[in-house]
Subunit: 199 residues, 2 copies
């Protein structure tokens, strides 16, 4: 019988997606759940709600709590944390490259490396150089991956994936969606989502 | 030595405050933490952010997820759940009466009974009748409590408490604040807040 499956929807700019990305592989393995990594862009979804930037910037009290809470969450998980500057970072190129990467065995390692660069190492993932270096560290042909990331095919794949996220009712990142369409939002709902698919 | 203490800030209209209110007393007792119940009004805080109603109404995708998620959260806790109609309910009178109630030994029971009426029994807590009946079931002189709830003293006490919430950086309910000013937002942060005060 096939393993139960869960879709992990994430935007590289999203703060709570960092701890989710760092812990989902081992948690899913422990639970016997297969995870499909689905990068998408929150920007168009936020825009549709009338937000021109992250709600954490639009609502300062909410933002202050989030940064402090994220520090606490990362400390409890023993994850290093550095506040990204600027925030949010434009995740378009990183997401396109992720679509290329995730067709390969090293795709999830690429995604974790992007989050690590942004949220541990204080690097700017908007810059092609950052992404190139990450790809090279994974032993990949960075130029070839980035060229493919800029292709019409990948560009429209990311747009379609973002449209699909919106159709699924996704409004934030990270989100977890079961085969039956059950939606769980937030790093703190990862365990509940895994429990759900194993029922 | 005094027990470690935690302030529990809540608005009776708030959805996730229902499971928080139902479980905080026993969780705090298990952890040896004293909880101070602090009713306040989210309305003025939302208005300061430019919201005329609950963000769950303003952002439908967020709202749809919240109702489904709350069902799941309540099911996992074995708490009955009925979606309140209307939502959000005006919690002004219930909150004023709570300030009267919480000066007495039966105060927390009153608060839980309000949440139960609203989120289990499908009743409207805006109505003085609902609050009167709850007070009577607690063996109290309902007319006297409601008269006191309408006094200038209680009215300004609730305003001051809401101002204090805002000064503490509170932007949602439930919130938990330690003596050192550490702020935790959300039912799903209750355990972390209790851990924090016990450190």
């Amino acid at each position: 019988m096939a393993q139960p499956a869960l879709d992990f929807w994430f935007d590289f700019a999203s703060t709570y997606s960092y701890p989710a990305a760092m812990r989902i592989a081992s948690l899913a393995a422990t639970n016997g759940v297969t995870v499909r990594w689905r990068p998408f862009l929150l920007g168009p979804i936020f825009k549709a709600q009338g937000w021109a930037t992250s709600p954490f910037n639009l609502y300062p009290a909410k933002g202050r709590h989030m940064w402090r809470d994220l520090e606490r969450v990362c400390a409890a998980l023993d994850l290093p944390f550095t506040r990204p500057d600027p925030f949010p970072q434009n995740s378009l190129l990183a997401a396109r490259a992720a679509l290329v990467a995730l067709a390969n065995i090293w795709g999830e390692s690429y995604c974790r490396a992007i989050y690590r660069a942004e949220f541990c190492e204080g690097r700017n993932i908007e810059k092609p150089d950052t992404i190139e270096e990450i790809l090279e560290n994974l032993g990949q042909d960075a130029k070839a991956v980035l060229e493919r990331a800029g292709s019409t095919n990948i560009k429209s794949q990311l747009r379609e994936q973002t449209d699909e996220a919106q159709r699924l009712g996704i409004f934030g990142s990270p989100s977890f969606v079961t085969a039956g369409g059950e939606l769980f939002w937030g790093n703190d709902r990862l365990e509940a989502a895994l429990d759900w698919v194993r029922r």
